[in-house]
């Protein structure tokens, strides 16, 4: 086994140095011509390619525009009662008709949208904020602290939020945005805490974090420069999926009478009020229900698009 096999080097029969010439190296060819794009630009480029996601985004922009300016555009205030106009049909004066107390339904739908979207968005952000910190701490310390913190998460996520809402509204003696938000956030952050924890644990074992450790980068700097930026995409996607579920929860609770109270309103509260007269005035149910459906659709489509755009593995 000792022989070094070099016979092929000398096997040059029929070859002569004249047959070869140096072609040289063109150093200019190695320059990169494609304009460079950052991570977020790349994500935006891929998001734009997804037609459904762009549709979701446009739908959302329209809905938000209407929610902000709808009550101003209406000819009557959403609180202004006028018994004479009770169940006024749809016409040029009352674009969506009027409700039992003669309030302008167009103004009420968009006013209710404000409450629904505010609850959805702030709720999702609060959940994300708490969940990130909690999941981050659990994964950072690991071991016993991690398993203890995760047991708490399991207990909390096993409590039905309906129960929490009822208990809270009794305890705080108030039904409104604040109670709803507290109740939904109390149990809602657990999902994102789990997600952040598992993502951080995966990232911590990645080669680039190991490389940073070997370079002597401090743990806190690793968290801020590697772990958080690499989790943020996941969190954004989770927020967009969380918003519609919170809007739906709010609608559901208001429908049951546990949510927003009159004269303030939300889409769920409007649906709830409309169900008693559904047979005669179906449009009173139709408009808020359509808004809920469209908002949820918009957020879900956009979330889907964002997930694909922000996932580096989807890159083509």
């Amino acid at each position: 086994m000792s022989q070094v096999k070099t016979d092929w080097i000398n096997d040059t029969e029929g070859l002569s140095p004249e047959m070869f010439q140096i072609v040289g190296v063109d150093t200019t060819k190695d320059r990169v011509l494609r304009p460079h794009i950052s991570y977020w630009q790349d994500a935006w480029r891929r998001f734009k390619k997804n037609k459904l996601a762009v549709f979701g985004l446009i739908l959302l922009v329209i809905l938000i525009f209407m929610v902000i300016f709808g009550p101003i555009m209406a000819k009557h205030s959403f609180e202004e009662t006028n018994i004479a106009e009770s169940y006024h049909p749809i016409d040029g004066e009352y674009w969506f008709g009027a409700d039992k107390l003669g309030r302008d339904y167009f103004a009420r739908v968009w006013q209710g949208g404000r409450v629904s979207i505010i609850i959805g968005v702030t709720g999702a952000f609060i959940c994300a904020f708490v969940g990130c910190i909690y999941g981050g701490i659990a994964s950072y310390f690991g071991g016993k602290i991690d398993s203890f913190m995760m047991r708490i998460v399991e207990i909390l996520s096993s409590i039905p939020y309906l129960l929490v809402v009822i208990l809270l509204s009794l305890w705080l003696d108030a039904k409104g945005i604040k109670t709803l938000l507290i109740a939904m956030c109390l149990t809602g952050w657990t999902g994102i805490a789990r997600l952040v924890r598992s993502q951080m644990i995966t990232l911590r074992q990645s080669d680039y974090v190991l490389a940073a450790k070997l370079l002597g980068v401090r743990p806190l700097k690793i968290v801020t420069s590697h772990l958080i930026p690499n989790t943020i995409g996941l969190i954004i996607v989770n927020i967009t999926f969380r918003v519609p579920s919170l809007i739906f929860s709010e609608a559901f609770l208001s429908f049951l009478g546990l949510g927003i109270q009159s004269p303030d309103t939300s889409w769920g509260a409007l649906c709830s009020a409309a169900q008693t007269v559904f047979t005669f005035k179906p449009h009173l149910m139709f408009f808020p229900a359509l808004c809920i459906a469209l908002t949820m659709l918009a957020f879900t489509l956009m979330g889907d698009g964002l997930r694909d755009a922000l996932d580096p593995r989807q890159r083509k």
Binding site: W8, Y208, A211, L214, L215, G216, V217, P229
Partner: protein, 322 residues
């Protein structure tokens, strides 16, 4: 070899990991070797034999279960804060997977200058930029690349960025953990040639971990052969490849693909039977005894020690007694 300065002295290094059911994985089980300044120390062996663990334990990624690592005459266990900083400045690593070793959210410039922010705090922004461009040119990339992101580069380019990141802080020792395994053959040659060129220019010491036997032969000065967490043979390139004495090394080398179908050594190829045993319950005695074609009863009870078969060439086998 004697006149060379010892950089690393590893004595009876053991690295055990806890496994399910209270068992332990003996990833590295009593390994001793020296690494001399300026050499390339190759480590070969099958997958799962503990090559990577040795490299990582050497750099302090894992805390060794037992044994000593002596770096420039000082035990790494006795390191204080300053020693640790100088150790991390001088000892770096190149990773196997070029796709996984770069943060997808960071520009190449940020990645390469990551270490500069730790070890060269006094540098101005311009000096850092200049340094980044300098290391990029070391690895054959232009400064255009500094503003790019990992996903915009090819596998070979990413691997070169990984090398540039390690080089930026001017280390003296680099653990190359299978740096070519994830690359295709033409890029492998590029990267290996780059590594040898840099070694000549910058006077680096390498620990080159690989299962590519031909590549290790090409690049290494001395070679360690590992099997199931233990060293079976250690020596300089010529003696290991020229006349391997351990049955495992012989079997391993006879598996190197041979381009000449009429070559004589094809006739006496050693075919190993069976699979590599699990490091959770490694065989007693010689770890290779379950697959060794020459195993005797003694091999099953008594673990052979590493002994010198000729100057600078060590092997662990009972057959060498006779």
């Amino acid at each position: 070899m004697e006149d060379k300065k010892v950089l690393f002295e590893v004595k009876d290094l053991k690295m055990y990991f806890p496994a399910r059911g209270g068992k332990t994985v003996k990833a590295v089980d009593g390994v001793s070797f020296n690494i001399y300044e300026g050499e390339t120390f190759g480590v070969v062996g099958e997958s799962g034999c503990g090559k990577t663990t040795v490299g990582r334990t050497l750099l302090g990624v894992y805390q060794a279960t037992a044994g000593d690592i002596i770096y420039k005459g000082k035990n790494v266990r006795d390191f204080n804060g300053d020693d640790k900083m100088s150790f991390s400045k001088n000892c770096q690593m190149i990773f196997q997977d070029p796709a996984a070793c770069l943060d997808p959210r960071m520009s190449i410039g940020t990645i390469v200058s990551e270490g500069l922010n730790v070890h060269y705090k006094s540098m101005t922004r311009e000096q850092k930029e200049e340094r980044v461009n300098q290391v990029l040119s070391y690895v054959g990339l232009t400064s255009d690349y500094a503003s790019r992101f990992a996903h915009e580069l090819s596998g070979g380019q990413r691997q070169r960025i990984g090398i540039a990141r390690a080089l930026a802080i001017e280390p003296s020792f680099i653990v190359c953990d299978e740096p070519i395994a994830a690359l295709d053959v033409s890029i492998q040659a590029q990267v290996v040639n780059l590594l040898t060129r840099l070694q000549k220019e910058l006077g680096l010491t390498y620990m080159f971990i690989s299962h590519d036997l031909s590549m290790v032969r090409h690049i290494s000065d001395r070679i360690a052969v590992m099997y199931l967490g233990s060293l079976v043979e250690l020596g300089d390139n010529k003696s290991i490849y020229g006349h391997p004495v351990h049955p495992y090394t012989q079997a391993l080398f006879s598996a190197i693909p041979e381009p000449d179908p009429y070559h004589s050594w094809l006739k006496n190829r050693v075919h190993l039977q069976g699979e590599i045993p699990s490091p959770i319950n490694a065989p007693a005695g010689c770890k290779f005894c379950t697959r060794c074609p020459k195993a005797t009863d003694r091999c099953k009870v008594e673990a052979p020690a590493l002994r010198e078969v000729e100057p600078g060439h060590y092997a662990a086998c009972h057959m060498l007694d006779i």
